[in-house]
């Protein structure tokens, strides 16, 4: 695996230098992404396309967390709370729960905005904390949000408690609903495919914003804070605002993903936002390569797809080997997941596809 990733990295480096190769690469990737749901649908059915849809949501989440953890170096163990805030913003403002049905173009940005505000709310009291201490506070914050969502059904029913909010409006633009299949040029495009294209577009937007941020003044300020906060202040960086901005930006990415999740699922409940989800997103960032955007995307796709691949292979493999199911797939899945984490951390401590800076750090 390590050699494959290195070769891939080298290949990308070579391709970057030749403009023709670059355009060819971009065109190939674009075509591949465009036909991906049809190929996946033909091979494995709609279920696979659904998995890809979720992988795209995780890409957005991982890139959001990457801003906080990877760029600014602030360890956040409660990141899923922002996903929850985005999802509930959408759920409460576009469902029969309150009888409010705001349009998507309004609810999604609102979800991002509300999540951003919550990001600042988390960031402001933790400005002086770092490392372990910050991790504990963020962990608590994540749980507080979940517990609030669980209990805000009395005395006034806001979140509908553990039952969650259902019959959420599907994502639609004026009369065009992504929940209904359409026919384009004689090809049936099912709903999961439509969601795929929307998620892909937004994931690309998030990637674009991440890339621009990385090479901006703000991005450099984040790196400086990550490396040495006192020195960063001595450089003339307003560390307070820049850290709050990291929390807000990261949170708003999570908020967008959350809104999409709510519209896609049609149902949200607090149990989708447990601590394990925060841990999984953090694993995506760390395994992929902290602070390195392509690595984080790779980490998100791998970790989002891997459990599903396991789920679909563990049972048949056992039947082949033993003639019956010996282990519960769910148990083996977590075991293999843990094993994969340990192996990657042992053999590629900077992540599967690390940035040059991280590589340098581990080399020195």
């Amino acid at each position: 695996m390590s050699w494959a990733a290195k070769d891939l990295g080298d290949w990308v480096e070579t391709a970057k230098r030749d403009p023709r190769a670059r355009w060819l690469g971009v065109a190939l990737i674009a075509v591949a992404l465009a036909v991906l749901p049809f190929v996946a649908g033909a091979v494995g059915g709609r279920g696979w396309v659904r998995i890809i849809d979720f992988a795209l949501l995780y890409v957005m989440l991982a890139l959001g967390l990457n801003i906080v953890v990877g760029f600014a170096g602030l360890l956040d163990l409660g990141y899923i709370a922002f996903y929850a805030v985005g999802a509930y913003t959408y759920a409460l403002l576009a469902s029969p729960h309150f009888g409010i049905h705001l349009p998507v173009w309004l609810v999604l940005p609102m979800g991002a905005g509300v999540a951003g505000v919550f990001g600042v709310l988390l960031g402001a009291p933790t400005l002086k904390l770092r490392g372990d201490y910050l991790a504990i506070v963020t962990l608590g914050f994540g749980e507080i949000i979940r517990i609030f969502l669980n209990n805000l059904n009395a005395p006034v029913n806001i979140t509908n408690g553990p039952q969650g909010v259902n019959r959420i409006d599907p994502i639609s633009f004026s009369n065009f609903s992504l929940a209904r299949p359409v026919e384009v040029l004689g090809i049936d495009v099912p709903s999961v495919h439509l969601y795929y294209y929307l998620f892909l577009a937004l994931a690309l937007l998030v990637i674009f914003v991440s890339l621009r941020l990385e090479n901006s003044r703000i991005g450099r300020a984040w790196v400086a804070i990550r490396e040495d906060e006192v020195a960063a202040r001595a450089m003339g960086i307003n560390t307070r605002n820049i850290k709050l901005l990291a929390f807000a930006m990261g949170a708003s990415f999570g908020g967008i993903a959350g809104g999409l999740f709510a519209g896609f699922q049609g149902f949200v409940s607090p149990e989708s936002f447990i601590l394990m989800e925060s841990v999984v997103v953090l694993c995506m960032v760390v395994l992929g390569g902290m602070g390195h955007i392509p690595g984080v995307i790779l980490g998100a796709v791998l970790l989002a797809a891997m459990p599903e691949v396991f789920r679909n292979t563990i049972v048949p493999v056992q039947q082949q080997l033993f003639g019956k199911i010996v282990f519960d797939p769910e148990v083996v899945r977590m075991l293999l997941f843990g094993l994969a984490l340990v192996l990657v951390m042992l053999f590629r401590p900077a992540g599967i596809w690390p940035s040059t800076t991280r590589k340098r750090e581990l080399a020195s």
Partner: protein, 233 residues
Amino acid sequence: MLEVRGLEVHYGGIAAVKGIDLQVSKGELVCLIGANGAGKTTTLKAIAALVPRSRGDIRLGGDSTAGLASFELVRRGLALVPEGRGVFGRLTVRENLEMGAYHRSDGEVGQDLEKVFALMPRLHERRNQTGGTLSGGEQQMLAIGRSLMSRPKLLLLDEPSMGLAPLMVQKVFETIQAIARGGVTILLVEQNAKLALELAGRAYVMESGCITLAGDAGALLTDQRVREAYLGE
């Protein structure tokens, strides 16, 4: 350039700086010497607004700095080379230097980079190496070079000789002298009293939060009390 009046700094209930007066005129190289725990670093940090002051007035170029955050002071021409250098270990030498020009938006950053490289050729040799791989002396040079990138009017240096080999200390001090000759006003905090007094024009001696002696550096170098307390005689 810098005027400090009645500065007091407390850490919790403990007074680290107990009402000191200090001034540095334009173009001067002034040093602040004293033993461990005398409050030298705290004084510098208070001037750079890295720790809050409890009382006193600090004027930079005639304007009060009350209420200004450290990053705003950088824009007003103040640069601090922190104790222990504070080099960005994972960034290259070049990136470190560029970070020093963070607040600038003029087009002359590249020019200043060349100037720093001319002043410190060693950094030019190592421009693509990460800060963390440099030797202690080179890191100190890098920290000083980085502070120059902000085009400071007043440079605060906190113990540039700390943890360096004598030969390297000599080099660092030569560089400081060159910077001073280039017209940058410098306030230097040092434990190495002899070197600092030889380099500086004027000096302050600090002892447990108070300034006990002040005057011409050459005169202090021959002062009996200073010789006994700091020069080991």
